[in-house]
């Protein structure tokens, strides 16, 4: 087998952010479904959480390319 271990590391580092994004949007969707008028309040919070979680996955991607 050939390849680089950094890709495996990136794969591992996406598990956490992937789970987090799923949980965040699940909560956002059920919140909006229960109370549609709360959407404008919930949306910034949900997307802030999404941005924070997704940043970790992108750090993993960048470091997988950069670190030798």
């Amino acid at each position: 087998m050939t390849g680089t271990l950094a890709i495996v590391g990136f794969g591992l580092s996406t598990i956490g952010p992937g789970t987090a994004t799923g949980l965040i949007f699940a909560a956002y969707i059920s919140g909006v479904a229960r109370q549609p008028e709360a959407r404008s309040i919930l949306q910034p919070i949900a997307f802030l959480g999404f941005a924070l979680a997704e940043a970790l996955a992108l750090f993993g991607l960048v470091l997988a390319f950069v670190l030798k």
């Binding site: 949306q43 910034p44 997307f47 802030l48 999404f50 941005a51 940043a55 992108l58 750090f59 960048v62």
Partner: protein, 62 residues
């Protein structure tokens, strides 16, 4: 400012990527030409910080 969820999602992703790529890339280039080892980390932190600032300005303020 409740904009469409799909547009917000992909724009936030694009902001995060471009911040990391621009300032992290600048840091990596600095490391390459100056022979240092800390500029990459500084660049990545600066990049993610500027991405968060832009996301806050565009989507969360107001």
């Amino acid at each position: 400012m409740a904009m469409n969820d799909d547009a917000a999602f992909w724009s936030i992703l694009a902001y995060l990527i471009s911040g990391l790529v621009f300032w992290g890339g600048a840091g990596a280039l600095g490391d390459h030409f100056l022979g240092t080892h800390f500029l990459l980390i500084v660049g990545l932190v600066l990049g993610i910080g500027s991405s968060f600032w832009l996301i806050w300005l565009r989507f969360l303020k107001s």
